[in-house]
Symmetry: C2
Subunit: 392 residues, 2 copies
């Protein structure tokens, strides 16, 4: 709710919110769309142009008379830094405000070495990436970080993350913000992947579920266009939902969890028990691609198990799109077939008639794109823009 | 997003949004909270007082000097009409803007007689109720209707409702609005009950699931303080989630649905099969209260079956509160015990450590209170208020 109608900046945020769809518009169109007076529109546009957020051009297809000036959002106005940290791998990227990746780097990085060493590496790598892309820290409007564990989003601090020793309660935004001089937001890695896939799917998708099938299994949830994090930020923890008729032991200590029958670690263990060398989810997918029938059968069955759990969730949540990502999803059609088969046979027709089920569009980049979405939506929120321009 | 800063009304909505918490405030406090100038605050307050939305008083506990004027939301400014229609029963109420029930009526009403006859009765009953409470139609700011089937919320039209012959696509808001002269909103009955229970639980509850266990089983979902309706408005249809190890035939044509093992109609059928006279969910509860052990066992087991389905949903959704309502919930502790037992043993500790599971606070009134919440939030949305005052 934008209430600062006495503030100098009121309306700037609304103008940017409209122009962010990529279409250029005239002053008159903007006045009509916002309800602002033409003089206020002009004033705000001047401020936005001075800050390089908006660029002016002449509309060449204007019919008759002199061409009207049109105004467009400048996706190159600033850059965003994004980091997607897994247990042992990291992907870093510099993106513009249109979520185009300008530079990126993937590297081995073990989060179990603790927050300072990990984030020191991240900060250094960000500076090198920026340098290489011809940008500097002054142009960074925000930093987004995905972490492989539960994160209290408001503070950006990890909460008892099981595979991140030393990170519990660590002030990730404070530490990294001090080194990079920009606001930092952190969230769980599956949540930011869901944000990325939601952006890639387009704004007409209101309710989306992103499932990551890797070593473990988790999901990110979009309700009404917004990330649903749940009461303790624990929403999406589907890996430990009990699967009927299974007593497989899970790393969590319980029996019959979805992860224990359909996760990459469990599939690799089952292959090892059958005498096949497989170390993790990536090996399972590689074996399948090489034509190993046991691996293929396991992956297909894993898809069915995930589908059985999701069938209930589809009845409950009625999403318009389910996106499947993570290492095991690289197995492509075999996983999808199992998931689709089970969901379409078990969910209600009303909930599945327009339901899309497909694999990730962004693949390995879902995390960094999602981290950028999180940061850009925060920085360009109408209230935040009005306030920034009001305090000029 | 309130963008009409040239409009005459801008700020009125923000002032009302603040005052709706029930606390009285001075002009200075309101200026500080909204960022509006003191002169704009005074102007807007004058308009709100003229419309009787706000009342002025003197703050008697002001220390020293002359007492400052304070302003408070007037919950008696208007009234709301609310109707909760079930398959064979209706509850109607007149409420003030603080959701206090001023007058109400419960009656037998069969929706299968079609929309015109049903709504004609509703319109007449509303006029009588208003009369009896000493109000007239001019004071009605909106009408909320809950219907026992899927409703497209944006249009208020039922969508293929299975137990409402003749209602498919019927323009409920248009028909009723023409007779009552006020805006009408319609939604599914379980959704409006969830809105009512969410209001009763308080604003600190962001993520709530309301489960109605009656003849059938369904739920209403609050995510981030807002109703989650899902892609086809079909969210919450948990009654047809497949229960493991059951082959009980369901009225939907499938086998092993939750409703077919734990719904009131199914329990009554099981009792009849055992030679006990039971016609529906209310009879099951009455038998249980009379000490019938078969009924007690069925109800407890129904609680466990509902709990088993909800355990997965708790991992997925991470609600802070689960509220159980509907006829079978009147069985109280027996149902709750079964639900709690299963959820706490099967969901993840992080998702259950602060999870509340309790029965409905509003009981039979959940629907009419929720319908009022829906209408009041719509009418008093800051943008709607700004617009109304801008067009004075």
């Amino acid at each position: 709710m934008s209430t600062a109608s006495n503030g100098q900046g009121t309306g700037a945020g609304a103008l940017l919110a409209i122009l962010r769809d990529g279409r250029a518009r005239t002053r008159g169109e903007l006045a009509e769309l916002t309800g602002l007076s033409r003089s206020t529109v002009s004033q705000r546009l001047d401020g936005l142009i001075a800050g390089s957020w908006v660029v002016a051009a002449e509309d060449s297809i204007s019919s008759g008379g002199r061409p009207a000036a049109v105004f467009a959002f400048n996706e190159r106005a600033r850059v965003v830094l994004a980091a997607d940290l897994g247990a042992t791998r990291a992907r870093l990227a510099v993106l513009d405000l249109g979520k185009t990746v300008l530079a990126e780097r993937a590297a081995e990085l073990h989060v179990d070495q603790g927050p300072e060493r990990t984030l020191e590496w991240v900060a250094t790598a960000f500076r090198e990436l920026l340098d290489g892309a011809g940008h500097d820290l002054d142009q960074v409007c925000g930093v987004g970080v995905g972490l492989p564990g539960p994160v209290e989003h408001a503070s950006g601090r990890p909460v008892n993350p099981p595979i991140m020793p030393g990170w519990d309660g660590f002030d990730v935004p404070g530490w990294l913000g001090a080194r990079l001089g920009a606001p930092v937001l952190a969230d769980n890695d599956v949540n930011i992947m869901a944000l990325g896939e939601h952006w890639a799917a387009g704004p007409e998708i209101d309710h989306l579920i992103f499932i990551k099938i890797g070593t473990g299994i988790g999901c990110g949830i979009i309700s009404g266009g917004r990330l649903h994090r749940g009461a303790q930020g624990a929403a999406g923890d589907v890996g430990h939902i009990r699967v009927p008729a299974s007593e497989a032991p899970c790393r969590c200590g319980n029996l019959g969890c979805l992860e224990a029958v359909a996760g990459g670690a469990s599939m690799a263990a089952q292959l090892r028990a059958a005498g096949v060398a497989a170390n993790g989810s990536r090996d399972v997918v590689a074996l399948m691609r090489a034509g190993d029938l046991r691996a293929t059968r396991l992956v297909r069955q894993a898809g069915r198990e995930v589908g059985a759990v999701m069938a209930s969730i589809v009845n409950f949540f009625n999403p318009s799109l389910i996106v499947i990502g993570g290492d095991v999803a690289e197995a492509g059609e075999q996983v999808l077939a199992g998931v689709r088969e089970t969901i379409y046979s078990r969910s209600l027709p009303l909930a599945t008639q327009h339901l899309g089920i497909r694999s990730s569009r962004l693949g390995d980049r879902a995390g960094v794109v999602g981290a950028a979405v999180m940061v850009i939506d925060h920085v360009l929120a109408p209230d935040a823009v009005d306030q920034a321009f009001g305090h000029h």
